[in-house]
Every structure is written in C-alpha cells, then in structure tokens.
Symmetry: C3
Subunit: 359 residues, 3 copies
C-alpha cells in the first residue's frame, strides 16, 4: 500500500441500520438450474427420493419431466439472499412459512426478491434482528418458493436506530392444504418398488418415532462444495483463516446442508414422503463442523387426508438432526428447563415440515 | 425416549435368513443417468477414454451420441442392489459374468432386479453367503447390464437354516464374443490422436505387463461423493461414528471406486481399450481408506480377433490395484502359499476383464 | 516380476530433447463440455458472474444460450496439452496472449493442438524451456481459444542439444480490441440487479485498488476434483505417495485453480466484469497446498472505451492472489529488489487480464 493507492470500497453487505421496513431487495445472479446441479445434489447429500431421480417415475406421477429436489431449489434461492441479507449476520435465527408453490425443472431460471417485514434492536446495542419475506420466481414469473426468515445482524455503529420493534406475524403452520399439493401430482400409478416397498401414510400415527439408522460424516470439501453450488457467499463456511480467530476455530457448516442431510437420511423409513411441500419452522440448535457425523430421527406430528384422495396424504414431521451420537446414546435430545426448550449440545437441527406421502 | 413413544422399525436390509432360492428382488429408486453424472464421474475418477468424452468421437465410432462410461452404469446398478442385498454384508466376496449388453446414453433410466441363485451357510454359524444375479434394464426394457455377485451376509439369529448349500455355476470367462461388441461400434474412422497415439491391440501379446505410472490419492470427500452419487447406502462408507468402533477406525472406500480408479489409470498405456465389455471376475484383496494412493499395473491375458474385423480386437486384461507403493517397491504382488493365492497387504484389487481395443 | 515378464513402456510424456522447433502436437481426448461441467465449476470455485449462470441473462445479453465460463474453457484446453507438453515439467513459467475468440456453449466439443515456438537450454544442463502456442477449436473448426505458455522441462539425458536458443516474441498486451469482444455481446438490456448493483467501468480509474474481502480455503478434494475434471494428468496434483518425497511433502494445487478462485473472488467489487476476454500474462509466484486460504486484491491498470459503445468498456486488471493473509497483514506484496520484482512468500498469483465491463 503506497501513498498514492486509491482503495475502492467493495460490497460488504447490509448492516442493521441499512434495513428499513417494507424495503425491497432484488437479489443478484439469476440462476438456471441444470441436471448438473441435481447430480451434484445427489452426490453431496445422498438423497434417494425416487420422484427426483427418474424421468419414468416423474412421468408416472403426473409430471412431464423430473422435478428438481425442492431443497435444492430452497438452497439456491436462499443463497441469493445472503449477499444482501445475511453477510453480516451473527446467526440465522429461524425460518417460517417456507412454501414450495410451483415445481422447478432443469432449465428453469430463478430470481429472488426479499422484503423487510420486521426490525427489532437488541438490548446489547450492537445487533438487531431483521425479518424478511423472500420470493423466488421462475422465468415465467410464477412464484416458485416463498419463505420468511429472521437473522441477527451486526450494527455498523452501535447507535440507537429504532424506537419501536416491528415483529411480523408468522404462521406456526401453513394450513392451507391446497397450497401444498402440486396440481398434477398423482400417485395412483406409483409402483411399490419405486420407494423400496416402505411404509405409507396410512401406516403412520401422530407420535410415531422413526430413527433413520444411517449416519453421514461431514467433510470440509462436501459442505463447502454444496454451499458454493448454492452461491451462498457467507464467509464463515469457506474462510479458515478468518475462522482461526473464532472459538471453534473451524469453518461452520451451512445449516441448510444439515437440513438436506436429514431429509436424505429420512429416506430410510419415510421413503414414501415424496414431496416436501412446506417447512413450517426450523432451528439450527447447534453448529456442525467437518468431522461431525449426522444422524436423524423423526416424529410424526400429524397425518391428514387431502380432498378425499386415496393416493396421497399430508404428513407433518418433526425431524431432529443429531451429531456424533445415535439418539439412544444421549440422555435427552431436548427438554424443558425453567419453562424453556433446551436442546442437547449434540442436537443440531429441529425441523418442522410437511411432506406428501403415498397412502 | 418417553414411555408413550412409539418407535417404528425402519428398513434394516435383509439378513441371511431372509433370502430364499429363486427369490426375486425388485430394487428401489429408478435412476435417470444425466450428463451431470458423467461430469462427476470424470471429476471423481479422472477417466479419459475418448469414446466417453466427446460427441464427435462417439459419432465417428458409430454411436448417435456419447455413451455413458460402462463403469458408471455398473456403479449405479450395483448401488441399487445394496439396500436389499448387502446392507448387512460382512464382505463383498466377488463378481462374475459382468456383461454390458446395451450402451447407455444420458437420459436413459435404469431399474435393477436381482434373483437369488445360491445360498451357503458358513461354519461359524453367524454368517452365510448369498449369490445373486442382477439385471439392469433401461426404459425400453432392454437389458443393459447383467452381473453375478456373492456376499457374506450376517444372520439375524445364528440358528441353522439350510441343509444343503446351493452354489451356482459361474463362468470363469464370458466367451461368447458376440455379446461383448456393441452393434454399431466401428473404429475405422478413429483418429490416432483421439487416444493419444497409444499402442493398439496388434502391439500386445499375452504376458505383456504395463505399469500405468500415475497414482491417485483417495480423499474422504471424493470416495464418499462417488458412493453417494451411485446411491449406494452401505453405512461403512459414510459413517465415521460407526467406524470409530472398528479395527481400522476409518470409513471404508467402496471397492467399485477402486475399480474405477484402476480403469482410469490404465488409460496411460491402454488408452485404446475403448469399450469395457465384460468383467470376468474381481476380488477386493484388501481394503482402502482415505489417504491411500492407488497405482495400477495390468497384464495382458489374451488378444483375440473378432469376426475378421480389422478395426477392433478383444483384449483380456488382469489389472492389479496397489496402494501406497509402486509395484517395484514391493517384494511380490501375489504368490502361491500352500497352494493358495496370497495377496500382498498393499494389493487392493485383482480384476479380470475384457476391453474392445483398436487394432 | 519374474524373468519371463515382458514389461511394455507406458507413455511418459515428452522430454526437452523430444521437442523440435515448429513441431506440431495434436493432443488427445477431445471433450464435449456439458452443463454438468459448468455446475461442477460453480461448486468448485464459487463463481457468480451472472452471464454464465442464467439463460435469461445470457439471452438479454445477446447470446442464444448461456456461455460456458471462459476459465473453464481454458482449463479444459490447458488440461489436454499437459500429457504431451508438461508431464515432465519442473515448473509452468508463464502464460501470454491468452485470447478467448469464440464463446463456448454446452454441447460444444473442443480439440487442442500445440506448436513449438521456442526452445532454450538451461545452464544447469538438466532442463530446458519449451515455448508453445496452443489453439483450441470447436466442432465447427472455429478457433475458440489461443494461448502461449512456456514451461521448464526435464531433459532425458542431460547432454547438449541446442546451439542457439530460440525465444519467441510475445505481446505484453493483446491490444487489438476487436478481438476481445464477442460479436453479439450487448449489455443495453442488462438489469442492475443481475450483478448486485455493483460499480461499473465508468466508476473505475487506473490505479484504483479493490480488496475482494472473501477468502476461500483449499481442500485436497476440491482442487484434485477440479484438476481431474479438466483431465489434467500432471502427477504432482494427485499422487501423495510421490509428493511424500518432495520438500513440501504435499500435493501441489494446479495453478489454474488459483486463477479461477481469484477470478471468482473478484466478483465482490468487479461483478460487472462480465466477460474475461484475454489474459495478457500470468505468474504463479508461489505454490499453494490444501489448507491454504486464498484472498485476492485487484488493481485497475486501464479503462478503455470500445467503438464508442455506451454499454461496455474494456478494463485491464492486475489481480494478485494471496495465501493465508489479507493484504494488510503483510509488509508488502511485491517489491523491487536489485532491480528485480520480488514477491512475498504468501503471494501466489500475479495475473494481468482484460474484462469487458458494463459502463
């Protein structure tokens, strides 16, 4: 750096003071999803849901071709929001009302817009919470995916900014069942072996618990490849030199990768849960790092019929991601402590979502 | 786990007692192979055989488009069988009569069925050997690939099950040459540089040995990505928490990945061995783990003319995979000991196969 | 190895004595680039330039479909030359006149030819420098990419070979601006958000410096997957057993991977630098290994108008790749020492190139 050097500022993301209520952010880097992305998704997560794996199966189920895995769609849409919303995030606090509205096929191009729907300063004076509603659309301007999320974001200065917090209302559960079912989905021609002859919605009851047996160990290369594929540029996932100065000293695994691993693991037992229709809420209870082995256990929250159809039912599931222990190796997964939910240190994900399942 | 919890069983694969002679298993998760899968195959193995890399080359060789690498087809077909056949396997004991019958192109969808052709209890009372014949078909119901394999599988109980072992006959070598040559394959227009001006079938004689020079070091991320791409869900490849309790303490590399690496390494010297037509037999002599460097040496077993054609010959090859040593760094690769073949601890693969090679 | 074994030689690349002036080398393994390759490129590098990411954007910019990233084209073309030119290289000394002449689209097939344009023996008697001009063409025999490079190559014997060194002329800068602009490129319909509302060419002045903030840590699996994807078979990138005997004891990262990382990192700040038109020169100042974190800082060398067009300008940039330190953590990046440029040990890349940038 010599005296005559003229340093230009490079984008550093928005800070809490940069957000205003109803602000609209049109995110960068539109993205065409390809078969290459889907192959990588399988290679990185091990997902095996048949509807996303074979054109013959997709056609038998009413699609004209293989739909892209909804979680791949979610990660790519989420990735687009990071550069504006969460580059200066301390933490992703939660998701709600994640709704997959239109199937995505290879060749579709996604763009994402977010609107600020809430703002709240924290008492520490250094951070605030930003609530956004993000919408991904395809090249036909159809809404593909909507979701709300809230993140704790650094302030630039630490000065007071807002008098009254604005906290948006969020539905605990998306309960308009019509929204969850793709128009053409039809499982009447589904063959038993497509999904390994597994149990169906009619075999499930609220309260049933399934431990999905398989475990998957995270490698730095896997999770950082996945996160780069999603063009999510949060530095904590990639930059070890930066992370050397943190308490953990390691690159943080993108929480969405854990969601994908848990969904992929749930194939063992819930392989007939073919279509992820909505995520009602999600919490990354603890961080994950390379070397951690992820297991998943699911609890059936609800089984609902839909329009008297005898091919599909709506099943609401709570999936828990657990690291480095099978559930029976831990004294508890979560428990009440002074009226608050407390997660075991090895519990990494608490996800509440609905799938369409064969009856 | 609270008293009212209702744990449902999740699929745990078949045990020795679950198999019966002539039983037919229709495996799950049909799979459309895409160009994305082929790109990943190149990135994971380093394969360079020109017929699988370029549409111009494939057309010059009589195909209407680029055929998918036969080993990628094999791994995807094999992967489908794991969930039923070998989830409780102690070891994959061998392969025979692996025959590639119809070329596969991007867009083709594979389904796989296996038939139990043999069963044998082991004297330890805890395991048995299951012999299966697997057939992969495409969306036109054409047979794409057939193979036999035998695996040692755990018993559930350890009780006696079978009176008489049934051991199927298996051909040592697929000797119907017609079966090995794709109908349209024609190498008359092949250009020397396509395959780096390398030696041709007419330059080879039985007994010739080629050391393929290059080495490739295994990373955990590579082999587990490959194995997930193939949707092979054997836990030993992915779950470090599980493997912590084994003697080696490491995730086991899928044996098929070693086959692919050896085939890719053999390009150096045998780059004109364009079409892998059949695998006559294969043994995973020792396990491989991340950090191991794989080398390959091949011996020409046989060179045969086919139908008086002057563009191709059939070459039978024995390729040996060796870890962490070049062949001349070892006192022996395999030797006779008390009348039995004994492999050096660093020898990981002994593969007997036929390729179609330019004359 | 028994007495009757007949070892055949396998290809070992060319040595200095094998090269002659004007020699033409037609490289092996033609390659069709697919959408799968582009997905992998994003996953391995984190690149986000919108023109290469979305069909809607590419069409708005005058292309009939999404062009393949020029650096992916470069790596695949470069990879094809390795087997002949640089398998016995001590070091890649430099590049010049790298010019992207025709856009590449998924489905295009590349072949590469190189001509020897210079030869120079080194005084050590053991090595020499080979200068080559490589040309990649597509299936329509259009020139896609031309580049010159020079490498230090081992001699077979160490005997004297050449009387007079022949050192080709090379342009310091490709200055025919017509060559840098794809015929149909038109940024009049470009939308601000495509490239995250970043600065444009008119905001830049020679001497401006931008530090691109993000860092990316190399994993062995990432760089070796990238290098295998490019079918670059230089052993130093893959073979740990071989590298155990080197001073560093580690697999060397392919220098081109560092170029791609720096270009991808430069999106932060130079996201409107949509089309990489030429690389005027490049030096790999120091090696990189797994575990290193790469940062990038760029200096604007020149901003030029082109044909009075008000949508694009030509911007010449010097990007420096730096490992394990942000630029302000180092006392200097490069400096003059006794009249020679001396790089800091943490500086890994010095790249001089031109991009087409929005005005």
């Amino acid at each position: 750096m010599s005296p005559q050097d003229n340093y230009l500022a490079t984008p550093s993301g928005l800070f809490f003071e940069d957000f205003t209520l109803d602000q609209e952010l049109v995110h960068g880097v539109p993205r065409t999803i390809t078969e290459g992305d889907s192959s990588l998704y399988v290679a990185l997560t091990g997902s095996r849901f048949a509807l996303n794996c074979a054109e013959t199966v997709a056609r038998a189920a009413g699609f004209y071709r293989t739909p892209v895995d909804n979680l791949l769609v979610f990660h790519i849409a989420f990735g687009k929001t990071v550069n504006d919303i969460s580059l200066n995030a301390v933490a992703n606090l939660g998701y709600a009302e994640v709704l997959f509205k239109t199937p995505v096929f290879a060749g579709d191009t996604l763009e994402v817009t977010s609107k600020v729907i809430g703002l709240k300063e924290n008492s520490d004076g250094k951070t605030g919470i930003v609530y956004v509603h993000s919408v991904a659309t395809n090249q036909y301007h159809q809404k593909v995916l909507c979701f709300k999320r809230w993140v704790m974001v650094h302030k630039k200065q630490g000065e007071v900014h807002l008098d009254t917090p604005i906290i948006p209302k969020m539905q605990a559960v998306i309960d308009n069942d019509e929204q969850l079912v793709p128009k053409n989905l039809d499982l009447k021609l589904w063959k038993e072996h497509y999904s390994d002859h597994q149990i169906k919605a009619d075999d499930l009851n609220p309260g049933d618990i399934l431990f999905h047996r398989d475990g998957i160990t995270l490698n730095d290369s896997d999770h950082s490849m996945a996160t780069r594929l999603y063009q999510n540029n949060a530095r904590v996932h990639f930059d070890q030199h930066l992370m050397d100065n943190t308490a953990a000293g390691k690159r943080l695994v993108y929480g969405g990768h854990i969601i994908s691993l848990c969904r992929a693991l749930s194939y063992n037992g819930l392989g007939n849960g073919l279509w992820l229709g909505a995520i009602h809420g999600g919490t990354h209870a603890n961080p994950s790092y390379a070397g951690d082995t992820i297991y998943c256990q699911s609890k059936i929250l609800d089984v609902k019929q839909f329009n008297r159809r005898d091919d599909i039912a709506l099943v609401r599931i709570q999936s828990l991601g657990i690291k480095n222990s099978m559930p029976d190796e831990l004294p508890y997964l979560m428990r009440e402590e002074n009226g608050r939910k407390r997660y075991h240190d090895n519990l990494v994900l608490d996800l509440d979502y609905s799938v369409l399942m064969r009856r």
